[in-house]
């Protein structure tokens, strides 16, 4: 018998299979795609229009001139799509665990880090499709970054999507039941989103609360937003890139540890991963 992990083709087949399943699930859940689009569009069409008059923005990198609030908030909404997608992947991992589908994945002869990494990459591909659909609609709304910005943002989306997906993966290893997921919304998604530079620049935050500014500056989601913002305008925010890469390594390492039966924490608990 040919050993499945003995050839590059076997690894590629496994990756393609996991990606295909994630795509099929995504296609089967049209409501999920719609929700992923409607959420940022509501923010863009209603929230941003309302706040345009209230929030004044000075010229701040990467922008070289005054920009409308809608323009400022768009990279934050792009990152929001990826944040929710990462959490959706996490939710689907918990669901798979509850229904038993997760066991099929975990008894595969391929190593856990590879299986989890493949699931992560598949989730990022789905999130990038959502992001570009959003950016296309935003273009008609007058949000028009440089044309090459749409290309330059792809690597940033990959890295930030991986980081947010890895965070979701790590969270999924710690959540034991689907019902507990509401806690993630309250204690992870909302604080991460609001305590970031997605909706307001950090200098504005400092004016109202230096402590809150420091929290926002420490938030990895802020760096995902800034990485995307700079990339859309053909620049690289090296600090944000370093933070996002570091957090990606940290979250993925922690998730791989938690899912590994030889090292992880949950195999020692009654009930285990199955």
């Amino acid at each position: 018998m040919t050993h499945p992990t003995g050839s590059a083709r076997g690894w590629l087949t496994a990756f393609m299979g996991i990606s295909r399943r994630e795509t099929l699930r995504f296609i089967n859940q049209r409501g999920r795609f719609l929700a992923a689009l409607v959420r940022p569009l509501v923010w863009l069409f209603i929230f941003a229009a309302g706040f345009r008059a209230v929030l004044g923005l000075s010229i701040t990198p990467p922008y070289q001139t005054y920009v409308l609030y809608e323009v400022y908030v768009t990279p934050g909404l792009v990152a929001m799509i990826q944040l929710f997608n990462g959490m959706q992947s996490s939710l689907s991992m918990v669901y798979d665990r509850e229904t038993g589908a997760m066991r099929t994945l975990l008894v595969s002869p391929f190593p856990r880090w590879f299986l989890l990494g493949s699931k992560l990459i598949a989730g990022v591909i789905v999130s990038i499709i959502q992001v570009f659909t959003f950016l296309a609609i935003a273009w008609f709304w007058g949000i028009r970054p440089p044309v090459w910005g749409y290309v330059a943002v792809i690597p940033a989306l990959i890295v930030s999507g991986l980081m947010l997906g890895a965070m979701g993966l790590f969270l999924s290893s710690a959540i034991r039941q689907l019902e507990n997921f509401a806690g993630v919304m309250n204690f992870v998604i909302f604080p991460m989103f609001f305590a970031s530079s997605a909706l307001y620049p950090l200098w504005r935050m400092r004016e109202s609360s230096p402590l809150l500014h420091d929290i926002c500056a420490f938030n990895p989601f802020t760096h995902a937003v800034e990485l995307i913002r700079f990339a859309l305008y053909l620049q690289v925010n090296w600090t944000s890139l370093a933070v996002v890469m570091g957090c990606l390594a940290g979250f993925f390492g922690a998730a791989a540890f938690m899912y590994d039966p030889q090292k992880g924490l949950w195999a020692r608990r009654k009930g285990g991963p199955a």
Binding site: M1, H3, P4, T5, S7, R9, G10, W11, T13, A14, M16, G17, I18, R20, R21, L24, R25, N28, T99, G100, A101, R103, T104, L105, L106, V107, S108, P109, F110, P111, L115, P261, Q262, K263, G264, A267, R268, R269, K270, G272, P273, A274
Partner: protein, 241 residues
């Protein structure tokens, strides 16, 4: 000498202060049907979770086809086909989509998987349900689909954890007969966990597990003796099966 399909030596496992398995040893010979009999809570599922590496095995050794699960997990898992106690297929996908997914998890590309899927669905009498969603299958069909999934990568050893639980008498008999047919025709080995006496034939190898310990191992006929298997089980465990 050919290695046994499954060799478990001195395996113990605990969840905190609760001892789930104590010094369990058993062998599943190649091409044999071994029944693992025990009431609910005996430790059957814990043992299966250790064999499939869902739980970390910290004491004793588990070898699948001679491959140590701790040292060569990939080689050991590649030889296992598992039917879990509860549903493990994606209910939103069709039977075929599930099988393609499972084949890919064993490195089998679609080109090779497709004819194999037709073959295993034929084996389990589900050829006409290939494009039905798993959620639309009956209990018996669903279990047969799970067996097809477990067979797709041509495993040497089938692990079936209470594979007939929740099925009516007819479906139960079909699933059991199918497993025995696979052993006779394809030479796979099977470890069949159950708490139902009727599923065990006199010639089967039998391991009685109770409160995490192996109380007796041998052929079912030898363990049953003249008093019958139900009485023998009652005498050994003090519990009616």
């Amino acid at each position: 000498m050919t290695a046994a399909a499954l060799q478990i030596d001195h395996v113990s496992h605990s969840f905190g202060a609760t001892q789930a398995l104590t010094d369990v040893s058993l062998t599943v010979p190649r091409g044999g049907f071994t029944a693992l009999l025990g009431v609910n809570g005996a430790g059957k599922t814990t043992l299966f979770s250790l064999i499939t590496r869902l739980y970390n095995n910290r004491s004793g050794t588990i070898r699948v086809g001679g491959h140590d699960l701790r040292r060569e997990p990939s080689r050991a898992l590649a030889r296992l086909g598992v039917v879990f106690q509860s549903r493990a297929m994606d209910a939103d996908l069709t039977v075929r989509q599930n099988l393609i997914y499972h084949a890919s998890l064993h490195g089998i590309p679609g080109r090779l998987a497709r004819p194999r899927i037709d073959e295993v669905l034929d084996q389990v009498d589900l050829a006409d349900k290939a494009d039905a969603r798993v959620s639309a299958l009956s209990g018996g069909q669903s279990r047969r689909a799970e067996i097809a999934r477990a067979l797709i990568h041509r495993p040497d050893l089938l692990l079936l954890d209470e594979a007939t639980v929740g099925l009516d008498v007819k479906s139960r008999a079909e699933v059991l007969a199918l497993t025995r047919r696979l052993i006779a025709r394809d030479g796979v080995s099977a470890l069949w966990a159950t708490h139902i006496m009727d599923e065990i034939a006199p010639d089967d190898d039998l391991v009685i597990l109770h409160r995490g310990e192996v109380l007796r191992a041998g052929t079912a006929a030898a363990i049953a003796g003249s008093q019958g298997l139900t009485q023998a089980f009652l005498d050994l465990t003090g519990v009616a099966p």
